[in-house]
Amino acid sequence: METTFKQILKLESIKLINYKTFVILVLVFAAILLLAFLSLQSFVSNITVNQNNSNVPPLELFKVYRFPDIWQNFTYFAGHLKIFPAFIIIIIITNEFTFNTQRQLIISGLSRNKYVLGKISVVFMLSALITIFVALSALILGLFHNTGDYSQIFSRKLLFIPVFLLELFTYLNLAALFASIFRKTGLALMAFLLYMIMIERIIAFYLPEKIETFLPLKAIANLIPLPNSPLFQLFGVSFAEHTAVQDVITCLVYNAIFITAILFISHKRNL
């Protein structure tokens, strides 16, 4: 009998729910996110206050928790912490090589394609879980600081939530690809960090600006533009208000590339 998707999900969930390291890392990440969201206003106001000290005309306070901007503010800010779940994904995937359990599953009758499908499902679930957490935090904190106008909750900016899901999914798939290539936890983590901090930047340096935006991390970062604050408006700088379709397409294409590469590697390798 062929393995069903339900069986695959059951296998992955047993592996993760009983893995203390995973549960703790997820909870720690949730705590970090929550703490960051709660202190976001004072953090941003601090910058504004500093500005006021130097003889600049007083700025309108940048209200972080105001609907509908909160959707963008929270997703933009949370996007800067996505390295944390990337580490979790790298640990989960390289563990299967370290423990040699991938081999055991495959000789027990799990196809390589379905093994990869299981891992991509985990990437998707983790992305979805974080997205839901960020969306709920935004909704609750937004309502808490709300001054009465609920009509602004549902605006075009709500689209930043699914876009955030795409951002995480693409980024975590890239991490999964690094894990499949390097197989050892430490090595994969280092290679991923190195790529983030240096390699892509070096590549970008030699590319024309037009093409540079198509590099994976660039395209992922471009999905959610920097929120326009009164501070930036003061300097006459204004960022895009919405996600560009081009970036969405680029990220979708990257997902296809990453998943195909992971599948290719898993078929070529001896276990």
């Binding site: 296998l11 047993i14 592996k15 359990t101 081999r103 055991q104 000789i107 009758g109």
Partner: protein, 303 residues
Amino acid sequence: MEEILNINGLSKKYGRIQALNNFSLTVKRGEVWGILGPNGSGKTTTLGIILGAINCDQGNFTWFGQPISPVNLKRTGALLEHPNFYPYLSAEKNLELIAILRNVDSLEIERVLRFVNLYERRKHRFQTFSLGMKQRLAIASAMLGSPEVLILDEPTNGLDPTGIAEIRALISKLAAEGTTIILASHLLDEVQKVCSHAAVLSKGNNLFSGNVSEVLNQQDIIEVASENLTKLTEAISLYPGFSSCRTLPSHIEVVFTEKTDPALINTFLFEQGIVCSHLALRKKSLEKYYLELLNSKIAQKVK
């Protein structure tokens, strides 16, 4: 009889090392094959290939007459090299994963855990197990759902004497029930005790494959003693099929070129006027045969 596994000219190279060279083998239902060979001779490589874990360079193989697929891998239970489990999961949870994957009833988990004497420790994490216990869990995992074929790569590795005896008894029992078994080992004694067939590998080359009892029967040794060993030697050398004879202080050892019956020898000697004080048939150990085989092939290569 139905062909379970058909291996045809498998070869595998790791860089410059020829791990397996043009290996062919046919396993039929109910046979118990021992794959024998010293360390690094290609046993694990062979099993890894037929289980789909290692890609081969040349050759092909079929399971149940079909190309390898996840569906026919679910009809085989395998232990490949080391026991591989999630260290943070309990014995029970680790088996549950395999049971879910293979659509095996969860009641099976208790049965196999009891069988390998790990039931009391079922709630304990795999990482807290001793080597022998890990090995037992791996055997339990391979047995889960009573697959038609068992593939065991050094199943008694790391086990205590009781464990070794139990596993051998298990293999014999499963074989008697009709399970087809492929067992890799460098313990010749093990293969001799439980296998019906053997394939000998050396540096990836298949030196011999065939029926174990045939090999052994051709190599029977008869121990005989009587009052006068010189007279006895003279007499027995006239027996049809006599090959060679070695005189020891208390008795002589005789080897015949074909299968012989001790009762007939006794009658023959009695007719010559010799009364035997001792007459015994001793199977030549496969180990001796195996070492001779390895040496002769190595000698051939040197020439």
